[in-house]
Amino acid sequence: MLSIKNLYFNYPNSKPVLQSIDLDFKVGNIYGLFGKNGEGKSTLMKLMSGLLFPTHGFCSINGKNMALRSVSGLQHIFLVPEDFELPALQIAIFEQINSSFYPNFSKDRFYGLIDEFQLSTKDKISKLSFGQKKKVLIAFGIATNTPLLLMDEPTNGLDIPSKSQFRKVMAAAVDEGKCVVISTHQVRDLHSLINHVTILDNAKVVFDHPLEVVSDKLWFGRPSTSDADAGIYSETSFGGKTIIERQDRDESEMDLELLFNGVLHASPKIKNIFQNTNHEA
């Protein structure tokens, strides 16, 4: 669906933000795009949606270069940015003036989600909190029914009940014909939602694997004394949780935060384990 080939990007007069990025996003998956602050997650989202143009390489959706911002390309994609302003209109009017550009837009879906988010169609967007505005945009993005939905830090600004509501809504929104990419540095928020992890570090993709492969290759938990030396990465702060190569151990519960930290701190060891694994979900 969305393919990124040999992509480089830097803002004018600054160091490279992204280097040699090769990624493929396929339908039926929810990708978690993780990275520390300033690692280029938002930039990559903007490049994927055609809001920025690569310095080198390209990003295409079904073969259409996103930097050209063609109508057919844009009809396949919707971006929920991290920080945004919406016009001072009623929610219903906001929907009316923007939905007509998306051929598969579902009004029922939009108004259903607005109701689920406990908002009213007569609410004026300018009077809503940032979290509520984010819910309006998330509802609109889901209702566009674009095959690719990009969300940049979607849980920022949402309160705790809203975060679990978001996970519920997203889980229901994704079907076989859709692909969702969620960029965040709040790894725990998306633990139960994603099925593919992509991690950026030092302007490069350092990890890109489906969760089922991760479960197959790695074991997360407190090691027995005999495994003490086999640990790839461990954290004393969470009761000594460790990542170990799984081998013949039983499947463990995935700890995304531990995986993220492990990838950043023990990258060569983890890379070695995944060396012969193809990037397929």
């Binding site: 911002r69 919707f78 971006l79 945004f84 016009p87 003036i97």
Partner: protein
């Protein structure tokens, strides 16, 4: 598909722009029409009449600046880093966006403002007849002064559209400054050309060189100059506006 053109998309985009900027447009129109009424009405205080040329002189004072302000207002979303993502990722081609914004800020705006201004002008004449015993004059859009003002607006509006798309802060001031510098440069260029080609004929007296230069350069448009400024300059600026839109990054 990058260059797709769909009338439906253009119509939907015009509708979107008008709804988004309804409050600004209505307020601007009301202020301009009230001022237009007062200017027209008070104009009849001196000579008890409002000639067609006088009316369209006053009309131009409001029609052109309001149109320019409306152009800047309409492109505000384009340059707002927190709002332009929604604008730029809408599945509408650059050509459709440009057509929609041009139609809204020129054709639609001119039609609406002209009809309302004509009604306000007629009302001012009626008020003038009642209060100042002014002469009746039937104002009409089918008059040369009206089309001159409209022509001027259609030529300069694309320049301001380019300015509105280019600058993100102090947009009106920067565009006016750029236009002023461009005008002075053209004036100087015209004068140099005129001087080069005509100096041998002894047309410069010496003592009034400065005023001669201004008069000649601003009044003496050649056929080529008229053709360029009247027909090519506006569309050329629209091409620049198209490229500005296509190359926009957030």
């Amino acid at each position: 598909m990058k260059h797709r053109f769909s009338g439906t998309s253009v119509f939907q985009f015009i509708r979107r722009d008008l709804i988004l900027h309804k409050a600004t447009l209505v307020t601007g129109l009301l202020v301009a029409l009230v001022l237009l009424f007062l200017f027209c009405w008070l104009n009849m205080l001196w000579d008890q009449q409002l000639a067609t040329s006088e009316f369209f002189g006053i009309f131009g004072l409001f029609y052109v600046p309001l149109g320019i302000l409306f152009t800047f207002s309409l492109t505000k979303e384009f340059n707002n880093p927190k709002a332009n993502h929604l604008f730029l990722v809408l599945p509408v081609s650059v050509f459709e966006r440009l057509c929609a914004q041009w139609i809204t800020t020129t054709v639609l705006y001119t039609a609406v403002f002209s009809i309302l201004a004509l009604a306000v002008g007629t009302l001012a004449i009626i008020m003038g007849i009642i209060t100042f015993r002014a002469d009746f004059n039937l104002l009409s859009l089918f008059s040369a002064p009206y089309w001159k003002v409209v022509q001027l607006y259609f030529i300069i509006q694309p320049v301001f559209l380019v300015g509105a798309l280019t600058y993100s802060k102090n947009r009106i001031g920067k565009t006016a400054l750029a236009l002023g510098i461009l005008f002075l440069a053209l004036l100087f260029f015209n004068f140099i050309l005129y001087a080069l080609f005509n100096h041998g004929y002894g047309i410069f007296k010496g003592e009034s060189l400065g005023s001669d230069a201004f008069d000649l350069a601003s009044a003496d448009f050649s056929l080529l100059g008229k053709w360029f400024y009247g027909l090519v300059f506006g569309p050329l600026m629209l091409v620049v506006a198209y490229l500005k839109m296509a190359e926009k990054e957030v």
